[in-house]
Amino acid sequence: MAQDQANEPERVFNMYKKMLLIRAFEEAAGENFHAGNVRGSVHQYIGEEAIAVGICANLRKEDLLTSYHRGHGHSIAKGADPRAMMLELFGRVGGTSGGKGGSMHIADFSVGMLGANGVIADGCTISVGAAQAIKLLKQDKIVVNFIGDGGINRGPFMEALNWAKIYNLPVLFVCENNQIAATTTTKTVTAGEGIAARAESYGIPAITIDGNDLLLVDNTSARIIDEIRSGSGPQLIQAMTYRLRGHFAHDKALYRIPGEAEAALEFEPVRRTESWLITQGISEEELANARDEAEQTISQYVVDAHAAPWPDIADAFTDVQDVGAPQVGVNS
């Protein structure tokens, strides 16, 4: 982002629309999960949208991104096609993985989105390797790795921090700290001062910000991504946030203090961004129109997903490997 674009209403309004698209996508994913149209697990990003949108607004198409199990928002923010994503959740032809991956394996390599991930912290090691490839190929790109606060207690996260630093790799680690991992409060299982301190102990600059403040995420990542592009080496942003829904769509989050989620609504990023836009002269009507547009767009994708064909059984046997590839109906 150029300096003169900072906090420009038009830029923020565009980011706001991206957030709405993610919100609508996640609501629809949840509804269709409950209706039995989407199987497996769906980890909604509701309440955390400002992080993905604010960061990705400062990325280029060719930059790379790795994500984790809560990856729909990162994918949409990086430019993946939400229609293809919805078809993927429905397991249909035309889905991002042709129905072979589902929610936890959304990827769109055409926009540098190297995949959500079903194994916590595995995206960290993949990121540093992707950054090594960038160096070897002398490309002008960076890698962003998103990780949850629970993921920081896995070894690969700590290995990857060390690795990124010793080779001075262009990696931005973004820890989305929603303070809870499934049903466990992260603080109760994390020694020391936490995420930022861990990064700093490796000599990696780390900053903690309010991840529900879209403008702050945008401004902070603009600066940091610029620094990484100019060779600063890895950096880490800890973005504080709150998961407004259960861990996955069927989790009622009964482990929470009653009233906690309701109280958090006051700080959720969509409303906060709306309040700011209003101070900039955007009307309630324009905001309502934007919300309707996002909802209608996603509703249409749901209709499309229902109508899309199921994959052919033979598709289960493709894209396993070239050498020693399986044949349909042959198990040996």
């Binding site: 991002t96 993985s97 072979k100 595995d122 540093v128 390797g129 960038i134 070897l136 894209d319």
Partner: protein, 324 residues
């Protein structure tokens, strides 16, 4: 023809690929100064730079994971794990990421990497440095599993593994590092993955084997043939895919088959081959398919104990005689 060791031949193959393709690189512990455990990377860092022969921290999960990320991002990395035993620190990355990325992402991605993880007994390195877990990886869809047995193959198969667009688990046998053989330096073409080598022809008995057991079985077969049991020896070279055609046509000819491997017999890959042959060639068989593998014990340290684990030429001969 040039005489060289198994390790030197691997180095030659790697050097040829580094020369040929600037996106080929290697990462692992102690590759620069030490040149790899057996000199299979000797002086390559000096020649190709520390960005292409990368000395890494002792972070096996990231050696594997970074190789995957680098493969997804357009390069051809060779992840050197030194011992298949240490590669177990990175099984998740290999099995959950490398083997599945192409599939999970609906064909958007390829993971053209080599996970190099030597197997086998080298003498006195005991339970955590001697294992042969090749069957584990043959069990995983998406992976190719290669087990070279000669210097020449260790060059040609490594080159094939590096050029392969699938993740390849490349399992050199540590006991073979110093073994010497002829290598045709002028023949720079890689071998074809999935093609077995007929080590010795015969008409009475087929013995299928790979990696460190090939030379043991070959010697046993020479003795057996002298005694009148004409023995065919097949070096599978790759376990996935394994060369069914070579094995089946040999068994159709001989009517008898035995599989010999150093890995623990229980759950070993010999069971898969035995079962396939029994199921499809039952009418051709003149006797039961037999297996020889290691006992289901950790590899012991002390000389007599370790030797008791290993399969000897004499044991192969005795088992072969039991067919007749």
């Amino acid at each position: 023809m040039t005489e060289m060791t198994y390790a030197q031949a691997a180095r030659l193959g790697l050097k040829e690929e580094l020369e040929r393709d600037p996106t080929v690189w290697a990462l692992g512990e102690d590759l620069g100064f030490e040149g790899g455990m057996a000199g299979q990377y000797k002086d390559l860092q000096a020649e190709y730079g520390a960005d292409r022969i990368v000395d890494t921290p002792i972070s096996e999960a990231t050696i594997m994971g970074a190789a995957i990320g680098a493969a997804l991002a357009g390069t051809r990395p060779i992840a050197e794990l030194r011992f298949s035993d240490f590669a177990m620190c990175a099984v998740d990355e290999l099995v959950n990421q490398a083997a599945k990325a192409r599939y999970m992402f609906g064909g958007q991605a390829r993971v053209p990497m080599v996970a190099r993880m030597p197997i086998g007994i080298r003498g006195g390195i005991a339970a955590q440095h001697s294992q042969s877990p090749e069957a584990w990886y043959a069990h995983v869809p998406g992976l190719v599993v290669v087990t070279p047995a000669t210097p020449s193959d260790n060059r040609g198969l490594l080159k094939a593994a590096i050029r392969c667009d699938d993740p390849v688990v490349y399992m050199e046998h540590k006991g073979l590092w110093g073994s010497v053989g002829e290598v045709n330096e002028n023949d720079v073409e890689p071998l074809t993955l999935g093609k077995a080598r007929i080590v010795k022809e015969g008409s009475d008995l087929t013995i299928v084997t790979w990696a460190g057991m090939v030379s043991v079985v070959e010697k046993a077969a020479i003795t057996l043939s002298e005694e009148g049991v004409s023995t065919e020896v097949i070096d599978l070279r790759t376990l996935w895919p394994w060369d069914r055609e070579a094995v089946f046509s040999s068994v159709i000819k001989t009517g008898r088959m035995m599989v010999v491997h150093e890995a623990v017999q229980v759950g070993g890959f010999g069971g898969e081959i035995s079962s396939e042959v029994t199921e499809h060639l039952f009418d051709n068989l003149k006797g039961p398919v037999k297996r020889m593998g290691g006992a289901r014990i950790p590899i012991p340290f002390s000389i007599p104990l370790e030797e008791s684990y290993m399969i000897s030429q004499e044991q192969v001969i005795a088992k072969a005689r039991s067919f007749f």
